[in-house]
């Protein structure tokens, strides 16, 4: 009876506050929405980051000379002066490294390239003879053996001349085959560019790739630089709508490759590109003799794979100490994608807490707003409370009425805000985190925001009523 009466009074008291209630609801909605979507976005991208960390892409540790010889004049000068320290025989060291550092599971050399379908692009960045077999035996002081793409800085016209001269001398069956290829069997250029990678045989192993059809490169394909190609799943489908990629020929950068394998679909990326989209061709090793010593060098970066996510740090340390000892401290530079991503995830954590903090501020502002209005209402109600006491309300009755009165806007605002926030968050989450298709609203921040928005003003709203209830009714009915 008493409770119903208090609820009735509260309803009547709250009646004039409808617009206020709507404003409060909006405030709460903004608060909950901000926290929910911010948390959404950060949680989703953090989860994505954590998932990525477990993929083979993030087990990679790249090794490169600390000083890349970008200037080819300098490169030639160094070759002439037989100063070959920066051009270390990395590939030769890889096997020893693998046995010495237990945290490593393998290594590969690979380099991302973008092929032009048909002839090589006019800029001539690629060696025309790339991938052509049978160019062995040309080794000499300062001379390159083999084709393929040398590391950055070797695409110099002067070096290209050397290679072209070598090609001019050669006459090989594979070359003949390329020349005598029936034009009709060549791929019509459905696409102009094909993203690809020059990889060695262990690349596929390292990325746990499986074949849909055909085979991987053989050891021969690598050493003899056969012009063969393994296509990613999506690439094969794009190039050949009939699904019959295997055995077909495709001319890339002026070289005709035979497709010997098509991969199964994979989630993995290499160097930021989906494996599915890439064309893989053998990565050529080239070697030269400097100072009476034969040095073989891989065209791409040498990459080591850590056993698992947990052993990346140990692997890094192991490689570093090995290289410092074998080549010299500071000569080689290591980079780990895991370290980069971990750093970024740290930034994301900061972002998350910043967003959370901002949301808390929003909640606080909404609560303060509600508190303020609750307080002014309570002060205005001093006399009303006195009258209620005079006509028979107990202290408890007046507090109960105030409780209900504040519960109405606090609860109504919370519910309306929550509903609005859920709708807004769902609508906008897809924009904030595009890769997250199945977004779940974070329960905890949402609950926190809603509870804060409801309970803080509720508590503060009844404080004046509690305060006044300790006063004699006479003090409340007296005119100020």
């Amino acid at each position: 009876m008493k409770a119903r009466l208090a609820a009735y009074l509260a309803r009547r008291f709250a009646k004039g506050k409808l617009s206020e209630l709507m404003l409060m609801a909006l405030g709460v909605a903004v608060a909950v929405f901000t926290s929910a979507t911010a948390a959404n976005a950060t949680i989703a991208s953090r989860d994505e980051g954590r998932r990525l960390l477990e993929t083979p892409d993030y087990l990679q540790i790249q090794v490169a000379p600390a000083m890349m010889m970008r200037d080819s004049d300098e490169a030639i000068e160094r070759l002439d002066s037989e100063e070959t320290v920066p051009l270390v025989p990395l590939v030769d060291l890889a096997d020893r490294l693998l046995t010495e550092v237990p945290a490593l599971s393998g290594s590969f050399s690979a380099q991302r390239v973008n092929f032009t379908v048909g002839e090589a692009s006019a800029r001539g960045q690629q060696f025309p003879g790339a991938g052509l077999p049978g160019l062995g035996g040309l080794a000499g002081p300062g001379g390159f053996e083999g084709g393929g793409l040398p590391p950055e800085g070797f695409g110099d016209p002067a070096l290209a001349e050397v290679a072209e001269a070598m090609l001019a001398d050669s006459s090989t069956p594979a070359m003949d085959a390329a020349v005598t290829q029936e034009p009709s069997s060549l791929t019509p250029p459905l696409v102009e560019r094909v993203p690809g990678a020059r990889v060695d045989a262990s690349f596929f192993d390292s990325f746990r790739l499986r074949l849909a059809s055909g085979g991987f490169f053989s050891a021969d394909d690598i050493t003899k630089r056969n012009s063969v190609l393994v296509a990613g799943h999506a690439l094969a489908a794009t190039l050949y709508a009939d699904g019959l990629a295997l055995g077909r020929n495709i001319r890339l950068d002026g070289v005709t490759y035979t497709i010997i394998g098509v991969l199964q679909p994979s989630q993995a990326n290499f160097d930021g590109r989906a494996i599915d989209d890439l064309a893989f061709v053998p990565n050529t090793r080239f070697s030269f003799v400097a100072g009476g010593r034969a040095v073989s060098f891989s065209a791409g970066q040498l990459t080591f794979m850590a056993k698992d996510a947990a052993s990346v740090d140990a692997a890094l340390a192991g490689i570093q100490s090995f290289l410092d000892r074998e080549i010299g401290a500071g000569a080689m530079r290591l980079s780990s994608r895991r370290a980069e991503l971990t750093e970024r995830l740290g930034v994301q954590d900061t972002l998350f807490w910043t967003a959370f903090f901002l949301a808390a501020v929003c909640v606080l502002v909404a609560a303060l707003n509600l508190m303020n209005s609750a307080a002014t209402h309570a002060v205005k109600r001093r006399r009303t409370l006195g009258m209620l006491r005079a006509i028979g309300a107990t202290r408890a009755d007046t507090i109960l009425a105030a409780l209900y009165e504040n519960a109405i806007p606090a609860g109504g605002g919370m519910l309306a805000g929550l509903a609005l926030a859920v709708i807004l968050a769902r609508r906008s989450a897809g924009l904030l985190v595009p890769w997250t298709t199945n977004l779940v609203l974070p329960l905890l921040p949402g609950l926190f925001a809603a509870l804060a928005a409801a309970l803080v003003p509720l508590a503060v709203g009844i404080i004046p009523a509690v305060f006044f209830s300790h006063s004699a009714p006479a003090n409340l009915v007296r005119p100020e």
Binding site: R12, R383, A390, I391, G392, A393, D397, P473, A474, P479
Partner: protein, 223 residues
């Protein structure tokens, strides 16, 4: 019915206390009409509040039907105010968020009546003060005199033993004030005790018992 013995009321600290009442003794008999007069600040309102159990004396004794009220709980005091006393103050008597009829029904509801019964009786009470046509108006839509009539209707809702009014006509033009006084004296004629604090000599003279306060002390009582 109500007997005050040497009632004192001091506000503030011991040292700098204001003695609003410095020892007031007064008896209100059933059916009596007591008027309280005195200069401003003499303690009239304070006395009325103590009489109405809206405040507690700091000294002396309050006997209600020969029982001391000291030690009664908030609940018991509230019940006495609700069932036995009716109040009319100088202004702002009504709860602004409630209509006239809801204001009048409120003491009935605190007494435990259902909403329906309370509203029905409230309408009758409003009719008795000539305001049944204005039942669903809010206080802000009523004139000062009408508001006081609603306050009187509310004061008598639970058929109190005594009505206590603190300058009920103080804010009204004299004609309207006379109407209110007529309502109150009619009630008194019906057997309800009446205590009226007033500045108005004319009203003061109407009382059967006329109390004059000065500096918290009863200066004179006339019957």
């Amino acid at each position: 019915m109500i007997e005050l013995k040497n009632i004192q009321k001091a506000y503030g600290d011991k040292d700098s206390a204001v003695h609003a009442l410095a020892g007031v003794s007064l008896t209100i008999k059933r059916g009596d009409f007591v008027t309280i007069m005195g200069p401003s600040g003499s303690g009239k309102s304070t006395l009325l509040h103590i009489l109405g159990l809206l405040d507690q004396a700091t000294g002396g004794e309050y006997l209600l039907e020969n029982h001391p009220v000291t030690g009664l709980s908030d609940r018991e005091l509230s019940r006495i105010r609700n069932e036995h006393y009716g109040f009319v103050f100088q202004s702002f008597n009504l709860i602004p968020e409630l209509t006239a009829i809801e204001n009048v029904a409120l003491p009935l509801r605190y007494a435990g009546e259902t909403k329906k019964a309370a509203l029905a009786r409230a309408l009758g009470l409003l009719a008795s003060v000539g305001l049944d046509k204005r039942a669903w108006h809010y206080p802000s839509q009523l004139s000062g005199g009408e508001q006081q009539r609603v306050a009187v209707a509310r004061a008598i809702a639970n058929e109190p033993d005594v009505i206590m009014a603190d300058e009920p006509t103080g804010n009204l033009p004299s004609g309207t004030g006379a109407e209110i006084m007529r309502l109150l004296t009619d009630l008194n004629a019906g057997g309800v005790s009446l205590v009226v604090v007033t500045h108005d000599d004319h009203i003061g003279a109407m009382g059967h018992t006329r109390v004059r306060l000065c500096d918290g002390l009863v200066e004179a009582v006339a019957s």
